[in-house]
Amino acid sequence: MCACNHQLTPDSEYARLEELLKEYKDQRGALIPVLQQAQEIFGYLPEPVLKRIAESFRLPLSRVYGVTTFYAQFHLKPRGRHVIRVCQGTACHVRGSARILDRVQRELGIESGGTTEDLRFTIEPVACLGACGLAPVMMIDDNTHGRLTVDMIPKILDMYE
């Protein structure tokens, strides 16, 4: 919640979407940046938002849906407050990242790609975080946790409410 004490109602979210659509109107190749920023506003991409974007760009909904599902970054379902990305890159793999992911999944009781019921965590698959020097690595939100061992996991998860 932002400090200025006005609540973000769905209405104001849609108002921001309209501003966004206006800003990118008639720009070439704008679909992906618009989807990215719409996801920032809503946290994910609900169907009405996709419909509105399609309408505004005069594109069939199927085209917008096709682009949305092609890229790993876009989400059609709500996500947790904190996103955990356990690096599955080569360097992390050979330094035991599979066991790290196992432990995170067991701690939270969800599979990779899933979200906890209380919407606290989402585990997102990621190919490589590019911090191979610190393998094995995971990222929670924008924080990178490196040189992990399995028993560090519970403590790290406790840091995120």
């Binding site: 070439r28 190749g29 704008a30 679909l31 992906i32 940046p33 989807l35 990215q36 096709g66 682009v67 092609f70 890229y71 790993a72 970054q73 876009f74 599955q88 890159g89 080569t90 360097a91 793999h93 050979v94 330094r95 066991r99 196992d102 432990r103 067991r106 698959p125 990621v126 190919a127 490589c128 975080l129 590019g130 911090a131 191979c132 020097g133 610190l134 393998a135 690595v137 924008d142 924080n143 990178t144 946790h145 490196g146 061992t149 399995v150 028993d151």
Partner: protein, 597 residues
């Protein structure tokens, strides 16, 4: 301009940031202020120094003293000793593992001494968010030279003469590529920087963008002038927020100084850039897929010809190079093709940046002349295998590359030699593997990746990778027959020959090279039902050695399935029926009494 007597460079690369360099930097600020030194000592946050293993890194100039693994608690002592008393703080210096000597200057550390840092010359040396510091290091001199003294043809000839080849993977001669785009008919042309570094295990492009963004912009400006383009795109991975932030800052600063935009440096040359954030699709590293993505479509490759040089972005002639290629351009123009030609081999000129990772002691970013033997990179720069275990393989080129065995250690690292060994230069990931790495598992790992990232447009890639993956799954469970190995090899070769784009054509490489160099390991899985490296879980059981077990119950407490039973102070037993082979017990055991059989 303020004058200071010392600069403290704190690494702000992704590696050091996750090791806590931000807190170190804040502690430095506080301590300098406390000691009244904040006017005479300046703190500079730089890009990546490459030696991520030893982070957070702090370098004090003018001496160039290299402190590693610096923690917040070390700061008061560091400031007092080095900056007040002028003495080097010995205990934070790097210790050369061979000689146990403490090395004060980073140029004398083996990790750096064997390198030739041309592309990375500014990385870790300048503040990447200040254009002045880039200019002070001869930045934009090459652009001025090009605009002032050279025709576009001259520029292309110079790049051709330098022998620079694409650093993104395939190694196509850059000058030739520029020439095609320059000759292509059409008023409107584009230049594109491929910064969609998606190879797991590679982060050199990220480090260049984070550590020296202006050198990429300058390279693109020169390329645009050479082919006659006025508009460009940088397509960067959204997973690299810091790189994107620094690019945006660099772009704004270049515009402000008239180095980007209309009438650059008072000439008729106009050029400007857009930054596009990728949305997470590995295949977008392929140039035609990347252009589709910039256009706002699904990032699917199309068949070539027509090549982008004739019909690229929005059907216009387009020249695409990757980050490291662009980062070479200004150096070549400033120093000349002849200077550049002294580095590397006859057909592979210059240097290559590698991300050295995996089971090697010194992990990090290294830049070496082409043609250097693999052994030197791993054993001299990388200082050998972690825990002094036995070297097994090195994986080069990511999911498109191959695994080389000990027999190839003396191979020269250049485009031709790597190609003939079945690997590729690729973008430059080097992942070292030891005896505890299973090659069947590695092949499986890469296919997991390419299977997930295949766009699904062509059948060989979409279906073929899936079938290869199924066969590997069988092998890792001890199923299948030895004839299946030949079948797998035939399938891999067919995919290589028939897939539409680079992703599919190279996806079989990890399979083909592991079959070629580590066939005995496949055979051990199939024939002996044994995983020699002890990785493939289906072929292993966890077992508690009764003589070693003290009955401390640590394993039973961590076991998620309650498979471990036993009384306190008596040896415990694992029930193989209940065991899910997660390995938690093995990590919890303090007496090494749990083994894999």
């Amino acid at each position: 301009m303020e004058l200071v007597r010392a600069h403290i460079l704190v690494c702000g690369g992704t590696g050091c940031t996750s090791s806590g360099s931000k807190a170190v930097q804040e502690a430095l600020h506080r301590e300098l202020k406390k000691q009244g030194l904040d006017k005479e000592v300046k703190i500079v946050e730089t890009g990546c120094h490459g030696f991520c293993e030893q982070g957070p890194l702090v370098i004090v100039y003018p001496e160039g003293t290299f402190y590693c693994q610096v923690q917040v608690e070390d700061i008061p002592e560091l400031v007092e000793e080095h900056l007040l008393k002028g003495r080097i703080l010995q205990r934070l210096l790097f210790t050369e593992p061979l000689t146990q000597e403490r090395v004060p200057h980073y140029k004398e550390i083996d990790f750096y001494r064997k390198q030739r840092r041309l592309v990375l010359r500014n990385c870790g040396y300048i503040d990447p968010e200040k254009i002045d510091e880039y200019i002070a290091r001869d930045g934009y001199v090459a652009l001025a030279k090009v605009l002032g003294e050279m025709t576009p043809e001259d520029v292309i000839e110079e790049i051709k003469a330098s022998g620079l080849r694409g650093r993104g993977g395939a190694g196509f001669p850059t000058g030739l590529k520029w020439g095609f785009a320059a000759q292509a008919p059409g008023e409107k042309k584009y230049v594109v920087c491929n910064a969609d570094e998606g190879d797991p295990g590679a982060f050199m492009d990220r480090s260049i963008l984070e550590g020296d963004p202006h050198c990429v912009l300058e390279g693109m400006l020169i390329g645009a002038y050479a082919i006659g383009s006025d508009e460009g795109y940088i397509y960067a991975r959204a997973e690299y927020p810091l790189a994107i932030k620094r690019l945006k800052i660099a772009l704004a600063q270049a515009r402000e100084l008239g180095l980007m935009g209309d009438n650059i440096l008072g000439t008729d040359f106009c050029f400007d850039l857009h930054i596009k954030e990728g949305a997470g699709a590995f295949v977008c590293g392929e140039e035609t897929a990347l252009m589709a993505s910039i256009e706002g479509q699904r990032g699917m490759p199309r068949s070539r010809p027509p090549f982008p040089a004739n019909s690229g972005l929005w059907g216009k002639p387009t020249n695409i190079n990757n980050v490291e290629t662009w980062a070479n351009v200004a150096n070549i123009i400033r120093n000349g093709a002849k200077w550049y030609g002294q580095f590397g081999t006859e057909k592979s000129k210059g240097t290559k940046v590698f991300a050295l990772t995996g089971k090697v002691k010194n992990t990090g970013l290294v830049e070496v002349p082409m043609g250097i033997p693999m052994r030197e990179i791993i054993y001299e720069i990388g200082d050998g295998i972690l825990g002094d275990k036995k070297f097994k393989a090195v994986q080069i080129g990511g999911p498109s590359g191959g695994c080389l065995s000990e027999g190839q250690l003396d191979l020269a690292v250049d485009y031709e030699s790597l190609g003939s060994a079945g690997a590729i230069m690729g973008s430059g990931g080097l992942v070292v593997m030891d005896e505890e790495t299973c090659m069947v598992d590695v092949a499986k790992f890469f296919l997991d990746f390419t299977r997930a990232e295949s766009c699904g447009k062509c059948t060989p890639c979409r279906e073929g990778i899936q079938r290869m993956r199924e066969m590997l799954q069988d092998f890792s469970e001890g199923k299948g027959s030895l004839e299946d190995l030949d079948k797998l090899e035939r399938l891999a070769q067919t995919i290589k020959d028939t897939a539409l784009c680079g992703l599919g054509q190279t996806a079989p490489n990890p399979v083909l090279t592991t079959l070629r160099y580590f066939r005995d390991e496949y055979e051990a899985h199939i024939r002996d039902k044994r995983c020699p490296a002890g990785v493939c879980r289906a072929l292993l059981t966890y077992y508690i050695v009764p003589e070693l077990c003290r009955g401390c119950t640590a394993c039973a407490r961590v076991c998620p399935t309650g498979a471990i039973t036993g009384k306190v102070k008596e040896p415990h037993v694992i029930d193989p029926e209940k065991c899910i082979k997660c390995g938690a017990c093995m990590e919890a055991c303090r007496f090494d009494s749990i083994i894999l059989k």
